[in-house]
């Protein structure tokens, strides 16, 4: 028994089977492609929603503006007290010069708008980064109780609500992905079963000459794998075309949501994972479809 020879036969027979029935193969590839396009769209929407939520959660701190002329020792004490509050990840002191520099950076090509502005008129502020969802309100309340704090801006308050909404949407997307995945599996199974049914005589012959289960179903598994990979690659290509066309419209319609960053397509790793998933789906579908015909 030469395992390599058997593998060579299985791959050869699988590919040859595909060439012999191109219409059935095309049907299977297109069917898988459509299913994976649905799954890819959900994955893409989910990836973007997660990305937005992550940016909001990380980049939007609480800002506390201090009263004028607070002495540095008092600031250091205040920072130490805030640092101890539950949900606080870190506190950054932003001095007037640093604030002015940030303003200049923010104006980009128009720094002359700040000409004549003296850093001394700007207050010292504290930027508080949180490490827990829902910690914003109690931390802000604690800050407002401090005598050296003049004003508190909780920039993440609305973001927390949006994050909760996005989390719900992510769960819905996960459920939808599971449903679409199951539907894909069923469709792939049905399509490959048609191909298997058309070749049941061949399966019977392979069994009669002493072919083992692997020898008999192997070529069909190869077919399923190739169909899954091709179908999903097709889906990723179509998804890219659709994404490219829809990106400006979506970015304009949800300008606020994408203020912190632009829409993104699947990363190469994600795209490859999706294609690999398509391959696995093809293998599982063909394995299930051929199972009843390889019964000895």
């Amino acid at each position: 028994m030469n395992p390599l020879a058997s593998l060579g036969y299985i791959v050869h027979r699988g590919l040859r089977g595909m060439v012999q029935a191109p219409l059935v193969q095309m049907l299977a590839v297109v069917t898988i492609g459509v299913c994976m396009l649905l799954l890819g769209t959900i994955t893409l929407a989910w990836a973007n929603a997660s990305s937005i939520a992550d940016r909001w959660g990380v980049d939007v701190p609480i800002t506390a503006y201090l009263v004028d002329e607070v002495d540095p020792v008092a600031i250091a004490d205040l920072v130490a007290r805030i640092d101890e509050l539950p949900g606080v990840e870190g506190v950054e002191v932003v001095g007037p010069e640093q604030t002015l520099a940030r303003l200049r950076d923010g104006l980009g090509d128009d720094p002359e708008l700040l000409a004549g502005l003296d850093a001394d008129v700007l207050p010292v502020s504290l930027e508080i980064h949180l490490d827990a969802q829902g910690a914003g309100t109690p931390v802000a309340d604690a800050l407002r109780a401090e005598p050296d704090v003049e004003d508190v801006v909780v920039a993440g308050a609305w973001a927390e609500h949006a994050e909760l909404l996005l989390e719900t949407l992510r769960r819905i997307a996960l459920g939808a992905a599971a449903l679409v995945g199951a539907a894909c599996l069923a469709i792939v199974w049905s399509t490959i079963r048609l191909a298997v049914y058309a070749r049941r005589a061949e399966i019977e012959i392979l069994r009669l000459v002493g072919g083992t289960g692997t020898f008999v179903h192997g070529p069909f598994v190869i077919e399923g794998l190739v169909q899954g990979l091709l179908g999903t690659a097709l889906a990723v290509g179509l998804l890219w075309i659709g994404f490219d066309a829809a990106r400006p419209l979506v970015a304009e319609a949800f300008a606020l949501a994408f203020a912190a960053g632009s829409l993104r397509f699947l990363t190469p790793a994600e795209a490859m994972a999706l294609v690999a998933f398509g391959g696995v789906l093809g293998v599982l579908g063909s394995r299930a479809a051929v199972a009843r015909y390889v019964e000895v």
Partner: protein
């Protein structure tokens, strides 16, 4: 030594009003290296009996032993290994119609995991043995019945099985080809393979001079000509040239 044993074997198809007894309490022994003819009219149970030996069907009652091993105790995963030891020629040939004769014959060796070079050489030799051109690239569907029959025989023999089962091997052949195929089967037997042929053709009986004839009628074994002691010398035929082939491991 017995290579094939049936003991009280009963096979029933269907149930209720559809119930049909294909074999009823059939028992016999086939010795290693024998040429056994299975005779009887159509529907007597000859094909069913061959399917039982290949474990394509399972009996409702009784025991079947191949080389001493009880098929009823054979695990499903071991059945392919049994079939590698039992070559079969089917009435309807069971060939891949889109494939060439060489590809069909090669299939039996590919199932064994033989190297490509070995598969090619042995498949060509097997086709040459049944007097078919190994370089014939036409698909089997375009071959005549006789040619397809010979491809089926070549495929059954290429892996050198210990037992060859042939279901009506001359059913599709003219008298000249019938003679050639019977000579070939006789040759196979002389090389040590136990041959079991199901046929209702009296010419086969006359030509082969079998060592054993099993007559079936309506699923019952009505005659068994098995000699008490097997001899390798048959009237009018040369003795076996080699020791009978024994089965490889399959259970």
């Amino acid at each position: 030594m017995a290579i094939l044993e049936f003991c009280g074997v009963t096979k029933v198809y269907g149930s209720g009003r559809e119930r049909r007894v294909a074999l009823c309490d059939v028992g016999f022994v086939v010795e290693e290296g024998a040429m056994t003819l299975l005779t009887g009219p159509s529907g007597a149970g000859k094909s069913t009996l061959l399917k039982l030996v290949l474990a394509i069907e399972r009996p409702e009652a009784g025991t079947i032993r191949v080389s001493g091993r009880d098929l009823d105790r054979l695990r499903k995963s071991s059945i392919p290994y049994l079939r590698r030891n039992v070559g079969a020629v089917f009435q309807d040939f069971k060939l891949l119609q889109d494939a060439s004769p060489l590809e069909n014959v090669a299939l039996a060796l590919q199932a064994l995991g033989r190297s490509r070079r070995d598969v090619d050489a042995r498949a060509r030799a097997a086709l040459a043995q049944v007097e078919l051109d190994p370089s014939l690239r036409r698909p089997c569907r375009s071959l005549s019945g006789g040619e397809q029959q010979r491809v089926a025989i070549a495929r059954a023999l290429v892996a050198e099985p210990a037992i060859l089962l042939a279901d009506e091997p001359t059913g599709n052949l003219d008298p000249r080809l019938t003679r050639e195929i019977l000579d070939l089967l006789q040759e196979v037997r002389y090389r040590g393979t136990t041959v079991v042929i199901a046929t209702h053709d009296p010419l086969v009986h006359q030509s082969l001079g079998p060592s054993q004839v099993l007559a079936l009628d309506d699923g019952r074994l009505v005659a068994d000509s098995a000699p008490r002691r097997r001899t390798t010398t048959l009237p009018g035929h040369a003795p076996a040239r080699v020791r009978p082939r024994t089965l490889g491991a399959f259970a």
